[in-house]
């Protein structure tokens, strides 16, 4: 049932992974290169083809203006939200970008929205899974940071759709991690999951109860992670370079990319070594060298990792729990490898955190568990059920610019609230509703999710209509709204204007475009494969011409074969797939008798007791001729 695979995907800031349930345990699906991690990097290569993951990484340094990373930081956000990011990340925005518009990022001379870029990463993971299963993969569970708001979740779902995936569920990353941990330990108790990744931080507190994973409270910061540590080290290096070497390389994309690569290596080394060297070659042949001790590193990053303390305390407070009531603490995310982070968590909760599962992989593994639960479950997951919460309160703007909270944070989802609206003026046909997300009291301090326009309110005196609006947060943490005028029984029409999201139509168009691209990709691949097949048959023919069988052919037959050979060599260099294909078929046809003669001579050679050169037989002009065609990877 190859078509039935539902995969679990961790779409990370730095790395992404795809996993599935391999019998009783989840497993990561490696890429063609054998590696589990697909770096969330998208670039354009020399031929203007999109490359993703490890092959894209070299472009970060070679042609930084043609590559992007950490695009997750931009998901579901507007121009106003990302001013801080622009200071530290080499994102190049489209020149004609207006305020309130969905962001568009330049890669080379093309522009893409963040969901489209993420879709490229997802498509790579989809390809890896399809290669692994040797069949199509169309359904997935994708993880998101628990503290992602509605717009960020919607953007992730859009990315999935653009990649041609039916996103069955968005699962919160720390919750997914707890599923992976809870699989073999059928325990009851309170678990805290501390998840510090490349770009986001989450803390979730769960209650495990006979297979039910109930999130009690969650908190976090969607812009806090390993990226911030890298940026700090880059800033220090740039200052050093200016101070010590008198070089200003801030505007040199390649130099900054080299420094970034070097500081990341240093950071990783410092998780195991007491000191590490930073060694960067700068443009002009100068070198920047310095040693960083772990002690220096730890005091540098202290302010960054201290930012995780507030959310942890708030989550404990919301859960009405004291640190000593937490039974187990689980560490997730690459940044959780930093010894100082482990120390901080240990001090905060008063116990040694678990790190038995690879912190880079545990989220994807958990997503695979959830995928199986959604797929109907197995004996392993049968009793498992996830009850998650909404991380942020949902509110409506009321008079005076105040937020009226209608669904409080940490409410178990799905959750709903019903509000009643009326009109202010006689005959008023529209009612505008502003939906907000956040904890602040004033609307302007909360995140604007969407503006809804209730249209077609039947004409009545002011205050007479009674419009029932139902707000429902679904199991993905995404808002759905429906409305009904109660006196007339008319369903009010709702026009959603997502504040920073894509409309359904835009997503649909992107999906269609991606099909166009997919078709183009497909033609490219066909062409490359045909050329390789032509190479093989031409090489085999060259060998065949040296065989005695060649001379057993009539001379005009030999001439005919040589004509076909020339014709194939000529079209092989062209971009016409069909012409190459025809050339191959014609040559195959024309060399049929040659193949037979060669076979005969091989057999008679064998009968004469001579050693048979197997390669001669294998690589005859039409190896496996005529049924099987050459196979190409």
């Amino acid at each position: 049932m190859a078509s039935d695979h539902i995969v679990g995907i961790d779409l990370g800031t730095t790395n992404s992974l795809v996993a599935y349930m391999q019998g009783p345990a989840p497993a990561i699906i490696p890429g063609e290169d054998g590696l589990n991690l697909v770096p969330s990097v998208v670039a354009l290569d020399e031929k203007n083809q999109i490359v993703v993951g490890n092959p894209a990484r070299k472009y970060l340094i070679e042609t930084p203006e043609r590559a992007v990373y950490s695009v997750k930081r931009l998901m579901g956000r507007g121009l106003e939200d990302i001013q801080d990011e622009l200071k530290f990340f080499p994102f190049r925005l489209a020149d004609d970008l207006g305020s309130g518009e969905v962001l568009r990022i330049k890669i080379g001379d093309r522009t893409y929205t963040p969901p489209e870029i993420s879709a490229q990463v997802l498509r790579q993971l989809k390809r890896n899974a399809e290669r692994f299963f040797a069949g199509p993969v169309t359904k997935a569970v994708i993880t998101v940071p628990a503290y992602f708001n509605d717009a960020q979740r919607q953007a992730t779902k859009d990315a999935g759709r653009i990649a041609g995936l039916d996103v069955l569920r968005l699962v919160n990353e720390p919750t997914a991690a707890s599923l992976a941990y809870g699989l073999d330990k059928k325990k009851n108790g309170i678990v805290a999951v501390y998840d510090l990744g490349g770009g986001t931080f989450d803390i979730s507190i769960l209650r495990l109860h006979d297979g039910i994973f109930e999130v009690i409270a969650t908190n976090g910061d969607t812009h806090l992670g390993g990226d911030d540590i890298d940026n700090l080290l880059i800033t220090i290096a740039l200052d050093d370079i200016q101070g010590d070497l008198g070089l200003e390389v801030r505007r040199n994309g390649e130099a900054v990319a080299r420094i970034r690569k070097a500081v990341i290596e240093t950071k990783l080394a410092l998780s195991t070594d007491p000191a590490a060297k930073l060694d960067v070659e700068l443009p002009g042949g100068k070198w920047y060298r310095r040693e960083i001790t772990r002690e220096m590193f730890e005091s540098l990053i202290q302010p960054i990792i201290d930012r995780t303390v507030g959310p942890c305390k708030q989550a404990l407070k919301d859960a009405k729990l004291k640190p000593e009531q937490i039974d187990e603490v689980v560490l997730v995310g690459g940044s959780a490898r930093i010894p100082k982070v482990r120390q901080l968590v240990q001090d905060l909760f008063g116990r040694v955190p678990h790190t038995d599962l690879n912190p880079d992989e545990v989220v994807a593994l958990g997503a695979a568990v959830q995928a199986e639960i959604l797929g109907g479950g197995s004996t392993v997951t049968k009793e498992m059920l996830l009850l998650d919460v909404t991380p942020l309160s949902l509110g409506i703007e009321v008079g005076g610019g105040v937020t009226d909270k209608i669904i409080l944070r940490n409410s178990t989802i799905p959750a709903s609230a019903t509000q009643y609206y009326t009109t202010q003026v006689d005959g008023q046909a529209n009612v505008a509703i502003h939906v907000l997300q956040g904890e602040r009291e004033l609307a302007r301090d909360c995140r604007s999710l969407a503006r809804f326009d209730l249209k077609g309110v039947p004409p009545m005196p002011a205050g007479m209509p009674r419009i029932e609006v139902k707000f429902l947060i679904d199991a993905n943490g995404i808002l759905q709204v429906s409305a009904r005028e109660q006196r007339s029984g008319q369903a009010a029409q709702i026009e959603v204007q997502p504040s920073y999201g894509l409309t359904d139509e835009q997503v649909e168009n992107m999906l269609l475009e991606s099909f166009d691209y997919a078709e183009e990709d497909f033609r490219q691949r066909q062409l490359i494969e045909a050329r390789r097949e032509a190479d093989t048959i031409l090489a085999a023919l060259a060998k065949g011409k040296k065989n005695e069988a060649w001379h057993r052919l009539a001379s005009d037959e030999r001439r005919k074969i040589e004509m076909l050979e020339k014709a194939l060599v000529a079209v092989q260099k062209e971009d016409d797939y069909q012409a190459i294909r025809n050339g191959i078929d014609a040559l195959n046809q024309g060399t049929m008798r040659l193949a037979e003669f060669m076979m005969d001579s091989a057999v008679s050679t064998a009968l004469k007791g001579k050693t048979m050169d197997e390669t001669d037989l294998e690589e005859g002009p039409a190896a496996g001729h005529p049924v099987a065609k050459a196979q190409f990877e």
């Binding site: 069955l168 569920r169 109860h209 006979d210 039910i212 959830q370 639960i373 959604l374 797929g375 109907g376 059920l385 996830l386 009850l387 009321v398 008079g399 005076g400 610019g401 105040v402 009226d404 909270k405 409410s411 178990t412 989802i413 799905p414 959750a415 709903s416 609230a417 009291e441 004033l442 429902l472 947060i473 679904d474 199991a475």
Partner: protein
Amino acid sequence: MRATHFCSACGKVQPPVPVDYFTFFGFPRKLNLDTAVLEKEFYALSRHLHPDLFARADTQERAWSLEQSSRLNDAYRTLKDPIKRTEYLLRLEGVELEEQSKQATERARATGELKKQAVPPDLLEEVFELNMHLEELRMQKKLGEDDPALLEEIGKAKLALEAKDDALFEELRSAWNQWDQTVDNGSEEARPPIRKHMVDVLNRRNYIRNLLRDVNEAIEN
């Protein structure tokens, strides 16, 4: 477990019936509630209604599951919390609670209006004094001064308020018992005064809570 939420023959989730939260769980409209039983029922129903179990079902059943499980979660959240439970029951009984909530306070703050809140008579003097102290504290903080004596005064007032808050909760609990008795013996006529009493206790409690919030804000900021 309630059989109305799914078909007893085939186990399929059914379209939601508009019932109140007590009925949803099959409980009488009583205020004393065994939260352990409630929790057990919640978990059991979750295992039947949650959308994760219907990922492969048709659109209609998925929609019903979404609606039913959101209702289950809303009901559980409301009944689990003693204050929310009481407020919900009063609303079911047709009582519109006085606008003394946090919302009303915030709305008034944002528009710069004075809070329309009647001070409970027995608190008049204390509240007047406390507000004076809080104003003084805010002034001092602005000037960067520190007056341990003032903080001690406010701390004492805070403790007194917290004690009152606890006492009010106890008062509410005894009202629950009275209410539940009227449910048991079906005496409709005994209910209005109990309802009125509960509304009064909730209003006073809200008032105390708002004051406590102001005190905490003034101390922390």
